[in-house]
């Protein structure tokens, strides 16, 4: 037990050092984008992994926060912090409304309701004058951090994003390990039982939903600032599907799984064209060259494989493997004594 905690601490420490050095090795904008998606996936996982609620509408929070933050920074000239906070608040408010309606039904209906309400928000964004419609919101300035540090430098921006990510992730870890998190787990395992123990499960579910929406919104607002634009892609249902995929690939209900998943999926999207060219060279099937434009085929394929054969995800499988090895070692020791 004790050794486990030490292992975890060294693990986090190594991860932190890697994250601090990463922008000197890899392209900072790519890293920032991946970090934003990682936070998005972690926030989503708080619902599916720790509360058992499958939201199919998380793009609504990512995208609406992106639009609000982008608009506030560009047209009102708000400072960086205020813009991001405003976006987060907007996402949380939308999360509160959608959550209130969605928790009135359970299971698969919950997924359909969140999907439908998010689609409604998509149409609103498509028609509203301030989103720029099909063109999107362009030319969002990065501004200055605390009025001093110029964020147009990628390196400064990267460490800001990293700090936001660590803050969000720490909040999730804290929430999961708190009494609140335990109640959420109870809701996931057996909701009627949690009710009979006297918990107002609707209240807990709504709170978890709003928290998840707010953190997704934080990720969305930050992403808009990093990239300098916001488009309809971020509110579309395919984005809601993407975050499910990231979480599923990394491992549902594991703390670090979604981070791993987000990095894999974002890199895959970036490198798919090269991969397709390579496949075309190897197999001499020319069709593979179009793979770069057909991200959906590949994501659909990964979805199917994950659901059929790989439901624990990468981190989940590794944990299971680790436990098996430890179990075997324990058994050997016992046999020896």
């Amino acid at each position: 037990m004790n050794r486990n905690i030490v292992n975890k601490k060294t693990g986090y420490l190594i991860a932190l050092i890697v994250a601090l050095l990463a922008p000197f090795v890899a392209y900072p904008v790519f890293l920032m984008k991946a970090l934003c998606f990682a936070l998005f996936a972690c926030a989503f996982n708080l619902l599916i992994g720790f509360t058992g609620l499958l939201s199919f509408g998380h793009a609504a929070f990512l995208g609406s926060a992106g639009y609000v933050a982008g608009y506030a920074l560009r047209s009102w000239g708000l400072p960086f912090e205020a813009g991001v906070l405003l976006g987060t608040a907007a996402g949380a408010a939308i999360g509160w409304i959608i959550g209130m309606l969605a928790i009135r039904r359970q299971g698969i209906y919950f997924a359909m309701i969140t999907l439908a309400l998010a689609q409604m928000l998509y149409f609103v964004c498509l028609q509203a004058p301030f989103t720029g419609g099909e063109d999107g919101l362009q030319g969002v300035p990065r501004g200055k951090l605390l009025g001093v540090l110029d964020l147009s430098s990628d390196l400064t921006m990267y460490y800001t994003v990293l700090a936001i990510f660590i803050g969000g992730f720490a909040l999730i870890v804290r929430a999961v390990h708190s009494p609140f998190g335990q109640v959420l787990k109870a809701v996931r395992e057996n909701e009627p039982r949690a009710v009979s123990l006297g918990y107002d499960t609707d209240k807990y579910k709504l709170l978890a939903f709003v928290l998840s929406a707010a953190l997704s919104a934080l990720a969305g607002a930050t992403k808009t600032v990093v990239l300098g634009f916001e488009t309809l892609t971020d509110v579309h249902w395919t984005m809601s599907g993407m975050v499910i995929l990231m979480t599923l690939v990394g491992g549902l209900g594991t703390l670090v799984g979604p981070i791993v998943g987000a990095f894999i999926i974002v890199s895959l999207e970036n490198k798919l064209g090269d991969l397709g060219n390579w496949l075309a060279d190897v197999t001499t099937i020319e069709w593979f060259r179009t793979l770069g434009e057909s991200v959906t085929i590949v994501t659909g394929f990964i979805f199917i494989v994950c659901v059929l054969a790989f439901r624990r995800g990468i981190v989940g499988e590794m944990q299971a493997l680790f436990k098996r090895i430890q179990g075997n070692a324990g058994a050997l020791k016992e046999a020896g004594s």
Binding site: L101, I113, A116, L117, F123, Q127, T296, I297
Partner: protein, 294 residues
């Protein structure tokens, strides 16, 4: 002649368009409900299979010279067999798990099917001609009624009512309903439940493809035609509840008509009105109009 400041002709033609859309909602939500009843899976790929139904019809005409009437039968069969393959190779492995996995699997299938069609045919729509026998229009005096639209509403209603009749009034339907209630017991009576499940999925999928064939001449045949529709159909299902077949039909048609009226009076909201109604229904009657709270 005017009604509420809108020419009657325009009002009635939007109403008819609403009924056409409502027919698609009705067939698709019916298929979803039948599949959910027995398989406990919400078939996300329903929209993609509807699109496939339309595309197979288009291919039949353009590659093999098969006309509309042949494809009206052939296309649901082809897509139905594709559905059975999905059920046999993938879906049936998931029955013991949380229904969410079935939803995610069919979502993945949707992405693949749509992506494949898109990579071969692009996003722009392919036109499909209205069959000769149904081109032109009836002049009813107070409005012009395009024959094809009337046919879509008639054919969908006929198929929906036939499905209702089979499920509620025949022996086969009785097996099906029993299988929905308690599959183990039905199996103990010597009925091949896995076979029944497979055929039910194939049938539900064929219904979607049938709607696709009907839709081919009215909307452009495009790889994306299904995914936008299916989300509206989910809202329809949430509004109506999946407990009753007639409920699904009535809700589908009714919402189509409401959408049509919205297009006349406040076009900006026509894309969102179904979702707004869903939100209201959830606030007032969470189980849905025809649903029973479990």
């Amino acid at each position: 002649m005017e009604l509420f400041g809108v020419p009657l002709q325009a009002l009635l033609s939007q109403l008819l368009l609403g009924l056409v859309n409502g027919s698609f909602y009705a067939i698709l939500s019916l298929g979803l409900a039948v599949i959910f009843g027995l398989l406990n899976v919400i078939n996300f790929s329903h929209g993609a299979l509807y699109m496939m139904g339309a595309f197979v019809t288009w291919m039949g005409l353009n590659y093999f010279g098969l006309n509309y009437w042949v494809m009206l039968i052939a296309s649901p069969m082809v897509v139905g067999i594709f559905g059975i393959l999905i059920e046999r190779t993938m879906l049936h492995r998931l029955y013991k798990l949380d229904p969410l996995y079935g939803f995610l699997l069919t979502f993945g299938i949707t992405l693949m099917v749509e992506g494949l069609f898109r990579s071969f045919y692009g996003v722009s729509g392919q036109p499909y001609p209205v069959p000769d026998a149904l081109s032109g229009a009836f002049n009813l005096g107070f409005m012009i009624l395009p024959k094809y639209r009337a046919w879509v509403v008639f054919a969908s209603l006929a198929v929906c009512l036939a499905t209702w009749f089979v499920i509620e009034k025949t022996k086969l339907g009785a097996y099906l309903r029993a299988g929905t209630e308690n599959p183990k017991l039905v199996e103990a009576f010597g009925i091949n439940v896995p076979m029944m499940v497979m055929l039910t999925y194939g049938f539900g999928v064929a219904l979607a493809a049938f709607a696709g064939v009907l839709a081919a001449p009215v909307v452009q045949v495009s790889p994306l035609m299904g995914s936008n529709l299916i989300i509206v159909v989910f809202a329809v299902v949430v509004i109506g509840g999946m407990g009753s077949i007639l409920g699904a039909i009535v809700t589908g048609l009714g919402l189509g008509v409401i959408e049509g009226f919205t297009r006349v009076f406040y076009p900006e909201a026509s894309a969102t009105v179904v979702f707004i109604i869903m939100a209201i229904v959830l606030a007032i009657r969470p189980a849905g109009l025809f649903g029973k709270e479990k």
